[in-house]
Each structure stands twice: as C-alpha cells, then as structure tokens.
Amino acid sequence: MATASVASHSAHDHDHDHEHKENFITKYIFTIDHKMIGKQFLVTGIFWALIGGFLSILFRLQLGFPDMDLTFLKPLLGGWIDDGGKLDPNFYLALVTMHGTIMVFFVLTAGLSGTFSNFLIPLQIGARDMASGFMNMLSYWFFFISGVIMFISLFLENGPAGGGWVVYPPLSALEQAIPGSGMGMTLWLIAMTFFIASSLLGGINYISTVINLRTKGMSFSRLPLTIWAFFLTAVIGLLSFPVLFAAALLLVFDRSFGTSFYLSDIYISGEGALPNTGGSPVLYQHLFWFLGHPEVYIVLLPALGITSEVIATNSRKPIFGYKAMIISMLGITILSFVVWAHHMFVSGMNPFLGSIFMFLTLIIAIPSAVKVFNYLTTLWRGNLIFTPGMLFSIGLVSFFISGGLTGIFLGNSAIDIQLHDTYFVVAHFHLVMGSASFFGLMAGVYHWFPKMFGRMMDARLGYVHFWLTFVGVYLVFFPMHYIGIAGFPRRYYSFTTYDFSSAYTDLNMFVSVAAIITFAAQFIFLFNFFYSMYRGRKASLNPWRSTTLEWTTPLHPGHGNWPGEIPAVYRWPYDYSKPGANEDFIPQTVPLSATPESNLPHEQELVKLEKEIIAEEGEVLVANESKES
C-alpha cells in the first residue's frame, strides 16, 4: 500500500503480526514488543553487571592483597598472571578501564534506561507500544552487537583497552603507549559506535513516544515523574552522544589514518618525535566531557524518576513538590551541558574559564538539593511501607546526599587541584552515580517485577540483599575518601610503592574484603530474580496499590498492553491518602466525577468540564470509527 497512510497502517500491521504469527523468534528474540525489549535490556544489563563486578573484584584483590599468590586465577586469566602469581600491571589498567566502561555504559545506561524506558513509557502513558517497534528492536540489537565486540576484546592477546573509561589520547591514540591501545582500543571504539547508535535509536523512540502517543487526558502535568525522568534522559542523550561520536571519530582518524587532531610533538622511549604535529589532547577532553558530564545524569535521572514513583507509592503520600521535581530535572538537564570542564580543572585550561565552570557547577547543586529535599519531605510522616523497592529507593537518597556533598568539594577548583584523580573522586562518583543509580535500578526491578513477570520477588531475600549491599557500599567507598584526601592517585597498580601510601594497606584490605562480600550478596538477588520468575508467588493486579496506568493492564499484558480500549486519564498520578477518599489511593483512571467526596474545590469545577469532554469525545470516537471503516 501507499507509504502515505503509514500512520494508520503501521498500527494495523503491528497487531496483525502478533495475532497471527508469533513464534519463539518473534516473541523472545527479534521482538518489537516494548515489554520484551525492556526485559532483554534488563537481562543483558544483569549479565554485564556481573562481568563488570567480577573485574572489579580482580583489581580489588590486587589492591587489597598486593602480595597474594593469584596463581589460582591462571586458568581464567592465563598469561596475565605471571609466574610469581602476580597480576600483570597492564592488565590491571585494562581491568579498570573495562570495569568503568561496562558499568557506566552497559549497565547503568543501557541496563537502566533501556530497561525501564522501554518497559514503562508505553505502560505509564497509555500507549500500545513505542512509536517505532522496529527501531526499538534495532536499538537492542545494536547494544547486543556492541556488547559482543566489547566482550571479544576482553580476550585479545594484548588485552582490551587500558586508557581508562575516558580513553584520553595520546595514551589511547598510540599503539606504542600501552598494549591495550592496539586492537583492544580499536574494538572499544567500534563497540562504542554501536552503543551510540543504539542509545540514539532508543532515545529518539522514547522522545517521540512520550510526545506523540500519550492517552486521552495524559497531559504533561499528569505524567508520572518516571516518565519525565526518562524523557529528559533521552533528550540529554540525544544531544550529547553525537558529540561523543564526533570525539571518537577524530580519535579513529588519529589512530588509523595518521591525522593529528589530538597529537603533537610526541617522543616515545627516546626515539625521535612522531610525525604528528599541531594536535591538542585537551581538545579531546573538551569533546569527551561534553558527553561525559551529561552522561552521569543520563545514568542518574532514570534512577531518580524510579525513586520518586516508589517513594510516593510506599509513603502513601503525594510526591512533595511535583512541579518542583519537574523544574529541577529540567534545570539539571540544561545545566548538565554547561559544567563539563569541572573535570578538567588541572588540564592546563585557562584558570579564569575554570572559575566560570566552577560557578556553573556549584549551581547544579541547587536542583539536586531540591530533589533530595522533596524525597525527604515525601517520606516525612508518611505511612511508610518498607518493601524492598522502597528500601532501595531510600538507599538511593542516602547515597545521593553523601556523594553529592563531596561533589561540592570537588566543584571548587582550588580544592580539586588537590583532589583531582585521587580516590576521593572515586569515592564521590561511586556513591553519587554508581551506587545511587544501581540502587535505583534495583528499586525498579523489585517494584516492577510483578508487572514484568506476573509474580512477586521474595521480600525476605530482598531485605537481606538490601542490607548487605547498603552497608557494603558504605564500607567499600567511605574509606576511599580518606585515602584520596591523603593524596593517593586513582588507577595506580599498587599502593605499596610509596611510604605514605603503605600506611593504607590495612584500609585497602578492609575495602577489598567489603567489596567481595558486597559482590557476593548480589547472588542473593540473582537467585531471587530467576527463582521468582518461575516460582514466585503469583502477583495480584496492583500489588503496591499504585495509581499509575501500568497496573490497569492484565497480569500478563499482551502486545498492545490493554485488551480493550486504552484507559483515559483524569487526574495526576499521586492521589495517595487523599482526604475524604474511600481508599488511600485513587488510580489515574478514576474520573473526578466519580469521587465527589474527595475532590478539592478546584477539582469540583473541573468535573463539569470533564463531563462535557467525555460527551464530546464519545461523538468524535463514533465519527472517527465511521470514517475509518
């Protein structure tokens, strides 16, 4: 048929597809159902989290127990363990690099945004699916390919990329620099190109779905904060990932074609200068951090959105400051693009420029603080129900505070000169980004598991998992502040090279033990996750007594989500414990006219309007239907 009527036709084709020829491959592999794609992202994300976590255990062994005989790892790591049972220093760098790349991009970007944006956007705004199911499928498979390439790079003879997750040139640009800058770096760049494509495809879809496919009555001022967060995350990604692509493109040319964008006057081991002249490595830092800083919010915002939802539901209170939450997220979105150079205070950048970026950086603490304040006031005097999801959300708030405070230290360029590239920074971002986002991810999984799989996760195991992880995270990362203040640089192979740092051998041992226990605790979750998928208690339709639309779908929603008409929306998503109401929550689908006992005066006035609209829409619907057929 003609391409012109795509609008109506693609919608038709969709539903026919699933009605008539759904087999294993179209259902589980090349699926275009957003719910299944969300689960694909989740399971892949969990896989990568395990790999990323395992790599960190390897280098924590080295840091905590420098004299340990690691021969038992030889079967796995082969030549990377030398005859004395020591980890190869170059491989240490590769481990750190891969850990960072995997966690930031594969777990906390794809695993978090990919899972929950896909799963929740159509369900919470009342849409049958994403704007383009096909692009959505491509988004997952590009991510998958990216992962395969990154995975292969782990097994290269010279090891994977080793220049840190930020892959600064010249270290990453010159093969002679470190072994990881050879084939490992090439594969890193290819993998990241696929990853960028995947993120953009996903992001384009999320944005156009939120804008175009909301159900009747779902105005922007009635969107759950989760959707606001996913939406703004996608906007940030859309604007920043292309710049990473530009940075990587120039790096590819420097590496493979001999250009000098980032390289100049380089001497390697006493040989004459390399031919490259006129390049600037600081240029790369600008381009990279133009993505890099927004990226940290790409990682964090979805977790904050999930937390808003979970905390409001389990405090049985409306979220405090709904509008303020949206405005702060908008503020964060905009500000996140103008603070990147706080990562470069010591790069030789003009100090005057530094003070401008310092100013802008400190401003971003304001919307962050507003959000924290709103979480606390939502919790304040709520009828708290401590589900595992709720605990993880509260954990997120805790990390966001403790890690955010150190951000304010680092944002002051004068202090950052001392603290830059020390373990203080490691502590900062592992609390505020790593742990907070990870807890958001976990909160989301515990909270929406019943919707994903129709069963409940075991709460008791959830509590054990939470407490071990929560305490573990603080034990791992809090001591790093002290190590950093004492001046120990990050990404160093060994703590025992200098006298001053040898003093921290015990503390490091402690951190490593805590890390191993925390990592081990994740297997409780893993067991709970897969066991509950098949054996968990059957979930009720709305187990958390929540107001949002996803809980109005059947227990196992088919492709299209609602068997009949998509429900319309008549109120905001946070009508919890409304005075006068019969129940302590009123779903978004209940019209104001049905709840005269709890309506506020201004809502009572809306009732009239609502009735008119419903009548009018009835007519439109009839008219449209006759036009269609």
Binding site: I204, I211, S260, L283
Partner: protein, 193 residues
C-alpha cells in the same frame, strides 16, 4: 477493533506529529550535534595557534550553488505532487537527484583541489578538519541521495501524490536540511580559516 483505537488515540494528541517525521527531526538534531561538536572543536583548536592557512577550494562555490538549485527543484517537485501534477513531480525529482550526485562529484573535486594545494588529510589539523567536515557531510548526503532515489522510484510507481505525501515530505525536509548543513559548514569555513 484494537488497531482502530490505536489510530484514533494516536490522532488525538494536541501536539502530535507523524511519528516517523518526528523521528526524522530528532535524527537531524543528532546530526546537528555532531557537526556542532566538530565545528566547536575546530574553533577551540584554532585558538591554540600553529594553524596552517590556505585558500578554500573554489569548487565549494559551485557545489553550494548546485545544492541550492537541487533543493529548489525538489521543492518544486513537492509542490507539484501536492497539486497532483505527476509529470512535474518526476521531472523535479530526477533533476534534484542528478544534482545531488553532481554535488557529491563536486565535493570529490574539492579533495583533489586540496591535494593540489599540498593540503592533505594527514598533517596540520586545519586541513584535516576540512576533510572531515566535507567527508562526513558527503556521507550524510549519500543517505539523502538514496532517500531521493527511493522517492523517485515511488513517484514513477504512482505512489506519491497529494493523498500520499509522508515520504515525500520527509525527503524534502531531509534534503533541505542537508543543504542548509552544507551552507552552514561552508560559511563556517569561510569565516574561520
């Protein structure tokens, strides 16, 4: 039944746009960001000195003219399609596509001209940037030409007419965008070299 509702619901959004068109706009945003990144990098790098000065190839003036004329013909084709004048539509499409190819050829000659001036991809970044700008833009333009040709073929199959304009509209938007992008790059290079 179900799909009917999907249609109705989709059509009811106050600020809704055709999802594919909307996605195209978002895609163009990403392309803008790539080139914004690259041109900013150019300025940052240029301000550090050690910058090779040379004249821009004169071919750029011709290719800029070509891409403008191509856009005009495409727009003419688009207006003709809206009026169901299929003959003019096809003529316009053919001319636009041929000019698109001519633009690509012209850009190739700009590389030749650069080499004649001893400005190579490898060397001072001021030249390398030029190759990257034109090369990456040309790559996007190839996708534009493919899009043109796809619509051209459907126009010969009577699939583009006033009742069926979505792909034509998207094609026009994308092509104008690529033209404007080139004019931006050219102006940028004229002003900053």
């Amino acid at each position: 039944m179900e799909e009917k509702f999907a249609y109705i619901e989709g059509a009811e959004q106050p600020i809704a746009m055709h999802p594919k068109k909307f996605s195209l706009w978002l895609f163009m945003v990403t392309v803008v960001m790539i080139f914004a990144g690259l041109t900013s990098a150019y300025i940052v790098r240029q301000s550090e000195g050690n910058w090779l000065e040379f004249d821009l190839p004169a071919v750029f003036y011709y290719t800029s003219g070509i891409i403008i004329i191509s856009s005009i013909f495409l727009h003419w084709a688009y207006l003709s399609a809206k009026k169901d004048n299929l003959m003019q539509l096809r003529i316009g499409m053919v001319i636009a596509s041929v000019l698109g190819l001519a633009f690509l050829v012209g850009q190739w000659y700009s590389f030749v001209a650069l080499v004649d001036m001893d400005v190579y991809l490898v060397g001072n970044p001021s030249g390398s940037f030029l190759y990257i700008f034109t090369g990456l833009h040309a790559l996007h333009l190839v996708s534009g030409v493919i899009f043109l040709i796809i619509v051209l073929i459907s126009s010969f199959r009577y699939k583009v007419h006033s009742q069926s304009m979505v792909s034509m509209e998207m094609c026009v938007t994308y092509w104008h965008f690529l033209g404007a992008l080139w004019l931006y790059l050219f102006t940028f290079m004229l002003l900053n070299h």
